[in-house]
Homo-oligomer: 524 residues x 2
């Protein structure tokens, strides 16, 4: 569970956030009491595990309540709302126990929800309703780095490992995966692979997809294990059928991952631009020059004001290079040259080059502060749980030719919905990842619930407006948050129908009982 | 057809090659006469196209003989061996005609073989036997660049276009796809996508896979068209189910491809190493430093002697960088530093940096000569057709930790087979592509048929020995030559069985009659 509870905000912290937000929105927000697990009255389990599985299965309130949700658990937790908990939570400690629990469920028709770290924001780990008993499977006991191949720079890793623990095991050998999604501390390797998570690198190899050398996934029809290969042209890539399958084809048990030598050389610069448009135009040019910076994160003027104290008119581009072998001085110089030629401003003194003399834990002000905030998460929204905010994020990717009209339409639609639902609100945008052919923008919105309406309904209305605008503008419903159940209505329109038919057929073949994560990605 | 006939060797050229090889192998090789299409007596077509399709369907001898084979046609052509020609060769001129021909075949159960450019070396476009009438579909009439998006750097291209014609259409706008498989002149975009072809870039984005922004594929169940996106995390990537599907799920009609601004800056160096092992060790270090050179091709001492006049003990590494925006002077310097530190030798005078002052058509001696030979093809084997040689190439990819033992085992097995089959022969190796976690080696072998045995059987024996060694050593049966029918026995052992079951189920769903390229990749 990676220390989630210790990271929870205290009552005093929550009160402070409530006061701040009350002032900001001109309303009076109250801090509700949060019930403990003992106080919950959950539906009785509809089934018990066979005795042979009892040693690694749990049915207590805390386990069942915790595994009722993904990252959307906070609001529900605050109000003690757990109408559909899993009946059993299995924590297999090895592949034999994993086989035993999947055999039991597939044989008996019980739904299986692979849990990962439970950071889904799209209902990807929520027990389905109307499908009878549910067994949630969490691999947190299978969390070891089993082998490191330091010649090929690859490691065999169990899928249940959380981000920090994975890095702890690679560090002594001088390696790192350097895959840092926002949920890094609380999500697992298996979850990253199952959801095509987006990571540390802002350009080139942005998704976990590129770091998977081979996978081992248990399906109801047996083990799907691919060969360790640096590349292949033999048929459709069997790794790419697993990556993004969100638990509907099987449970990922382990993977050989491409790892990195730890960076010793770094170079960073924060460049400001007189407008949002001039910032994204520079970003496009740097991406198309294929310098492949590790960091190329652009903040719109609203976010640059909030996060870095800019004046609200200028956008901010954070550029970063890193290497284990080579000084990045030339690289940052070339990127800065391109940025300046495109209208950017940066003092020479603010171009930081670290040629390995420091340990790399500190960084110059602007870029470092932003980086910590990015990894730590959504900037205080957790502490605002239960306070009555319509708050959320959505992200996408779109080609450059469509981007300006796309951004305008998405902003207009989202702000109009916030206006209608909350009587106003705010929206900002950053690029988390950038490709030669388009950006991956990430939007954050915030408003206050209107008293007298259903809060969940208000949240849905904003999300709906944003998603419709994304689809209409030519974007994808998700660049790295996955589909789960929440994104289904738009995913169903985005994907080609023959592909959906093929995916359904593949699932029927592997999982004839349809027990694996029903309702995610496809209907039976 | 891209001018194949005009590129064929003359009788005089073939006689010269025969004399050269006779001297080399100590045998007397004779140049046989090649029958013309009129002289062939082909099996009568087993069906005729409906009248509505007649305008774009052909049944003459030349069409049917030509489309009887892929790149292995030469030996058969020499001896007039065409036992199983397609019954109809369709050349649809637009998507309506493509739909009409697929409707006809799917409705009547006739096999459909998508032909591409017909450069398959693995039987991927050979009409299946024992499956009744066969309709081969060639998209060579659908060969236009339909749109260029110069902001996103992407182009919408019809799948039937051959390499040179594609480049001709991109050049006026200042763009290039820069995908140059060895078969470049005679293969098509659709074929590249269907077979996951390996291209120009030796590192980073090596396969066509990375340049596909979206695809449009006709299946018997309708159009599979993906959305143009720079990236996405929405479910398993539907492009990756099409890429590598080798015509068994549908016929690719067009694609949005990521294109490049034409390179103006180049830098190259040819570095020699005292051994094969020191050459590959340097190559690994350069690949792991992630400088991402466009060219990083390593020749073993045998090939370096043949192709570049080295002394037979030294290996040769050709390093090349290119960019449309930035001088590559620093990049080549850093790569050369790494190569020298790893024991490589190169004179400063032999490091060539072109900062856009030349037009780029010429290159310094070593690298240019090698590049022309690579793109032109297999170095004279075509002209040796029918002369009695056991000659061929095979390629793979394998992780670095396995590579030294792998290379030794593959060489031993192949040379032993050549010894047994031909009484001797030769083998050389180069790296065509290199990854941080392993190389993609490409082997070429040559021997003389032993008189009195079946030549095809001798060829098969050598291929079999090499393929077994590849599988046993941890490689893939193909890094970029595809699977087709020839590689099936090893592909079937390489891929995970649940994946094969899922692929079969997907095919049954999309192509319930099983008409599309039966026997390729999977059995029904």
């Amino acid at each position: 569970m990676s220390g989630l509870e210790s990271a929870e905000p205290t009552r005093a912290q929550r009160a402070e956030v409530a006061a701040h937000l009350s002032a900001r929105f001109g309303v009076e927000l109250r801090v509700p009491d949060i019930p403990t697990a003992d106080q919950l009255e959950l539906r009785r389990p509809r089934l018990d595990p066979p005795g042979s599985l009892a040693a690694f299965c749990r049915q207590d309130n805390w386990e069942r309540a915790y595994h009722s949700y993904g990252y959307d658990r906070t609001d529900h937790a605050v109000f003690g709302h757990y109408p559909n908990p899993p009946d059993v939570v299995a924590h297999p400690r090895n592949e034999s126990e994993l086989e035993a629990v999947l055999d039991w469920c597939a044989g008996s028709g019980h739904c299986v929800v692979p849990y990962g770290g439970g950071t889904s924001v799209v209902g990807g780990v929520t027990p389905p309703e109307d499908r009878g008993p549910v067994v949630t499977v969490a691999l947190d006991e299978m969390d070891r780095v089993l082998e490191i191949d330091d010649v090929s720079r690859a490691a065999r890793v169990q899928a249940g490992v959380f981000g920090p623990h994975l890095e702890d095991q690679l560090r002594p050998a001088g390696f790192t995966l350097r895959h840092f999604p926002q949920s890094f501390a609380e999500s697992t390797l298996g979850g990253w692979i199952a959801t095509r998570s987006g990571g540390h690198y802002a350009t080139n190899h942005t998704h976990i997809d590129d770091f998977v050398e081979s996978v081992r996934m248990l399906t109801p029809s047996g083990w799907w294990e691919t060969r360790r290969l640096p590349g292949s042209g033999a048929g459709p890539d069997p790794n790419r059928w697993v990556i993004g399958s969100e638990g509907i084809l099987g449970i990922i048990s382990e993977a050989w991952m491409r790892i990195q030598a730890r960076p010793r050389f770094r170079a960073t610069a924060s460049v400001t631009f007189p407008s949002w448009a001039s910032g994204w135009e520079a970003t496009r040019q740097i991406a198309q020059a294929k310098l492949w910076p590790a960091n190329l994160r652009l903040l719109d003027p609203e976010l640059a004001a909030d996060a870095a104290g800019l004046d609200g008119s200028r956008s901010l581009l954070v550029i970063g290079f890193e290497s284990s072998e080579l000084s990045q001085r030339t690289d940052i110089g070339r990127a800065v040259d391109l940025a300046r030629a495109a209208g950017g401003t940066v003092d020479d003194a603010d171009i930081a080059v670290d040629d390995g003399e420091r340990d790399g834990s500190g960084r110059p002000g602007g870029a470092g502060a932003w980086r910590r905030s990015f990894i730590a998460g959504g900037g205080g929204i957790g502490a605002a749980a239960g306070l009555g905010l319509v708050a959320g994020t959505f992200e996408t990717a779109v080609t450059w030719d469509r981007w300006p009209a796309f951004d305008a339409a998405v902003r207009a639609a989202t702000l109009a919905a916030l206006d209608e639902v909350c009587g106003g609100g705010s929206l900002n945008c950053r690029f988390t990842h950038v490709y030669p052919d388009g950006p991956a923008p990430y939007y954050t919105y915030l408003g206050a619930y209107r008293v007298g309406s259903d809060p969940a309904e208000q949240q849905r209305a904003v999300k709906q407006a944003a998603s419709e605008a994304i689809l209409a503008g030519g974007g994808t419903i998700t660049h790295h948050h996955a589909v789960g159940r929440l994104h289904r209505p738009w995913y169903d329109r985005e994907r080609p129908e023959p592909f959906a038919a093929a995916l359904r057929a593949a699932k029927r073949e592997l999982d004839p009982g349809g027990v694996l994560n029903p309702g995610v990605l496809i209907d039976p």
